[in-house]
Symmetry: C2
Subunit: 225 residues, 2 copies
DNA sequence: TCAAAAGTGTTAGATTTACACCCATGA
DNA sequence: TCATGGGTGTAAATCTAACACTTTTGA
């Protein structure tokens, strides 16, 4: 080994993805059974090693696309996890990323092929290595993010009702909100646009569908939801 | 190479430290001239490679102690930086950490020996590789942290005046605050204890010295400063 | 005696929270 | 006709922000 840093030691670097989805009023994460040794069969996040010709963000995007078939997902780094013995096989430092997806965009057949499933965020089993820690940190960061920037929409279909939106925020924050106060705040956000379309799947009367207009959204230091 | 993950490729992993200090009413970071190739002579953060027998947090602590002679500094991970070409020599993924120190605790002789100096956070020069990005992110995270948890004290001596404390927060947030409103809020925090001691270095009249009592502080979701 | 920093309360305005009823529809 | 979810406004309470003068003391 004759590079600049020849005397130092190299390690494997992987990325692990915490993929959040919102379905049936629940906030969920995607987990599966680990398919390789060591730890084969344990509950695990989906991940992969970083290749020599890709950045860590690119690695995360690749892994996400591999699993979901989806590109350009909303994704943020959670952080690096690097305890010496976190991987029972060899030294592996892992960088966790969380992503938000609209469950409906994810082909269920593809999901089954990868052997992953949605579990309620409050009901995550004991996982391989430090993956529980990753999920906990990802959840906190996601919660923070969603309440300060309008990115929660990434968990919903393009058109949604105000009730759906409220339930989303309730699931994320783990607390109920007052319907009138919630709607009052939404009404003041002009990047949440009311359409003339009506959704009748969840009520007899029907509810107006809304849409997030990302162009109408200008960064707003006072955003709070 | 015959480990579990034999087919994959390994990389160097380093830690880089953004060390914040507060002096002469200014928020400052510690930077120096890079002492190794590639990039020798460029402005750089202080860092080091992660060893095989230490976690990444331990590596950061070791590097911080090496540089400052201080242990158990308040330190948080900023994140992993992993563009393919971020290091002109070889592939190196770096994990940035920020730390808060009381400038007075840092032996100035030791500082000079390491060839590092304090620069105003608003006046950081163009730095090696992605170190400017690291500093920007660290600053944001530190700002966030300090305004939600009482950790700013780590930048002050054990005894401080309310004026010093206010100037610290003003430097961190980059905006002036109203003296009466500030002191009103402080008075409600019973973990900031008034002592009977008086500091006369900064005024003729003298100002009461206060102290942070970490035992009196219980995690408070409503903390805001 | 005066310059410089320390210390102290009140009020208006803005924001947040609590709260209850009517509407439209399909079964 | 009734059960279900959709939709709407007001008032009290709390929080935030603006604001100016007196005190102490060393030079």
């Amino acid at each position: 080994m004759t590079g600049f840093y020849g005397n130092y030691h190299k390690v494997f670097v992987s990325v692990d993805c915490i993929i959040f989805g919102f379905d049936e009023g629940e906030l969920r994460v995607l987990i599966g059974r680990r398919q390789m040794d060591p730890g084969r069969g344990e509950w695990s996040l989906y991940g992969g090693f970083v290749r020599h010709d890709e950045s860590i963000d690119e690695a995360a995007n690749r892994v996400l696309a591999e699993l979901t078939g989806l590109n350009k997902l909303f994704m943020r780094q959670v952080g690096a996890f690097g305890n010496v013995d976190r991987d029972p096989g060899e030294r592996v430092i892992s960088i966790a990323y969380y992503a938000l997806i609209n469950v409906k965009d994810y082909d269920d057949e593809l999901r089954r092929q990868h052997g992953v499933e949605w579990v309620n965020i409050d009901n995550v089993p004991t996982m391989y290595s430090d993956h529980n820690k990753m999920i906990i940190k990802a959840r906190k960061m996601m919660q923070e993010k969603v309440s300060r920037e309008p990115v929660g929409f990434r968990l919903l279909p393009p058109l949604f009702t105000l009730t759906q939106l409220q339930h989303l925020y309730e699931a994320i924050n783990g607390e109920e909100m007052d319907k009138r106060n919630f709607r009052k705040r939404i009404k003041e956000m002009d990047f949440i646009e009311k359409t003339e379309l009506i959704d009748k799947t969840s009520s007899k009367r029907g509810a107006f569908l809304y849409r997030f207009n990302k162009h109408a959204y200008k960064e707003d230091p006072n955003f709070k939801l």
